[in-house]
Symmetry: C2
């Protein structure tokens, strides 16, 4: 086995500097290393595809958050799907497909003591494709599912509004809410995305925030007000939604992509007193808290996918890890259409 690996080179993308605003080329460093055998208890994984997420922008900042920042000079953190090349860990064998925190690199050597922290877990490609395992069956899907179900607690007939509706989390939230009997209204950028979530995913309506007034759209499409708002964007859209929430509404704070590259302070929701008037609740979620129940959500959603009750759209970019910096930028301009995935190797 050692001879098989000896000729392999691991290309990596490391964080070179903490960005101010949008990340630029100089914030990244490209390195290469020889690929090494795993030691006792470790696993060597070949990366097939990486998940590109808005949360990555937060990991690049210094300071306390729900997870430690990526250190300067470290391989950029990323979730991904790969295939085990060599294993000295119980439960993993060469050829197994896995998901976990692989990092922006072609090979990920996970030592025994980091197995747990990497979240490395075997996945079953009969339940979904590699890219679906990064989307509906992966972290975005888990985020959407548990955010909606646990914090939102949707009831049939309620109105659910979702920003970033065509994004990775948004598509899960909207489809699960429809399956629960809710009225679902998305907010997305551009007519193509709006058409897709309505025509393909079955949302009741979708408001193009780039092409018109969100306020007017909510007025038109939420005649009975808003019971649940799943927020991925923050900023003006959050403020507008707050003017139309119902009594006892639930607002799930999943992200605030409109604010992540700010060089000025975050814009706080100036209409937050609507929470008081409406006895409403705004609550943050972090997906890792639900790790012990991921398998339940995966089982349900894999069933929906296979039965055609749910769809999953990924925007797959090729070019390997070298394409990472340029591809990440698409998230913040809204250029991606569906869950943004970087393909690193053929499955």
């Amino acid at each position: 086995m050692a001879s098989t690996l000896a000729h392999l080179v691991n290309h990596q993308v490391r964080l070179a500097a903490r960005p101010s605003g949008l990340p630029v080329a100089g914030d990244w460093q490209f390195t290469e290393e020889p690929v090494a055998e795993p030691a006792e208890g470790g696993v060597l994984v070949k990366t097939l595809a990486l998940s590109l997420d808005p949360a990555m922008r937060g990991w690049m900042n210094e300071g306390k958050s729900y997870i430690a920042p990526v250190g300067i000079g470290e391989v950029m953190r990323a979730g991904g799907v790969g295939v085990v090349v060599a294993s000295k860990a119980p439960g993993f064998a060469a050829g197994d497909h896995v998901s976990g925190t692989l990092g922006v690199q072609e090979y990920c050597l996970v030592p025994a003591e980091q197995l747990r922290r990497s979240g490395l877990a075997k996945i079953d490609l009969r339940l979904g494709t590699v890219t679906q395992w990064l989307n509906v069956l992966g972290m975005p899907g888990m985020t959407g599912y548990f955010g909606l179900m646990d914090v939102g607690q949707p009831k049939a007939g309620e109105t659910v509004v979702i920003s970033g509706a065509a994004g990775a989390v948004g598509q899960t939230v909207g489809q699960i809410a429809k399956l629960r009997g809710c009225r679902v209204v998305g907010i997305a950028g551009g007519q193509a995305k709006c058409d897709w979530v309505v025509q393909e995913l079955g949302f009741d309506a979708c408001i193009d925030y780039k092409g018109g007034s969100v306020k007017d759209g909510l007025k038109q499409h939420c005649p009975n007000g808003i019971d649940i708002y799943f927020d991925n964007v923050g900023g003006e859209i959050l403020d507008t939604v707050l003017t139309r929430i119902n009594r006892k509404a639930r607002i799930i704070i999943c992200g605030a992509i409109s604010q992540y590259n700010n060089t000025t302070p975050v814009q706080g929701p100036k209409n937050y007193l609507s929470l008081l008037v409406n006895r409403a609740r705004m609550e943050g979620i972090v997906v890792f808290d639900y790790a012990d129940r991921y398998h339940l959500a995966i089982a349900e959603m894999a069933g929906h996918l296979q039965a055609g009750r749910m769809k999953s759209k990924e925007d797959v970019v090729t070019g390997g890890v070298a394409a990472f910096p340029g591809t990440l930028g698409k998230l913040f301009t809204g250029e991606n259409f569906g869950k943004l995935v970087l393909q690193v190797a053929e499955a």
Copy 2:
């Protein structure tokens, strides 16, 4: 009876104009009316004392809120305690003490069809004094009690921070939290108020926001972070607290007195993404939702008062309804010390 009432004059304060910023003299109109007998099913109440509350500022604004605005030309809305002068309603007799929405006037004629809406209810002065019935046993007490217990859900050992700590709501929240075994840290304006909540009410500490840094005070007095924040003020203090909350923290939005007289937009909490990082919750409360359980809170707190486990401080201003406009202003400068009460007649 008609002859007894015929010579009585009812002095009233009416809303003449919607204020911009702090209410001014021209926003009020003084009127007088003869006092009339109640018709069948109605009650005539003589006002003894009125509750002056920050929420009154909101009632003076146009627009949808949790309660309709006071109309121009209408008697200003106010909760109060009074004594029944004449009754043609079952359950009320002359001499009964009552609380309810009496308005800023010396006599309140409540017709049958408004009995329910006025919340008129008999009170027992053996459980508390007239002013205590406007404080710990009244709306502020109910607000503090149910906001803390239902939304906050305090557990022994948790740290509870309260802004407006010496105010009507704050005193209840802090004392109930202490009785539940929490560490209680107040925020109030001025050393005298801070000393009082610590020395008289038994708070563990109190931060004088006028005399020093709230940030430093929280760092010093909340070594284990903040589990519950009961917010009466909004603005900068809310933002500062958000930087120090614990995982799964609960923030009760009861009011935002720092923002009520703004002529610029409300300042939204720019650190609201701390809710995400900490999986925390911000929730608004309106006391009326708990009306069917007021009696439980009253029973508990009257017991605490009588056993000396709880104290109640009112800032009683004399001068009758004519003194209303000037007295209301004290709330917004923080001049009042304890629950602000306007005495209208001797008990």
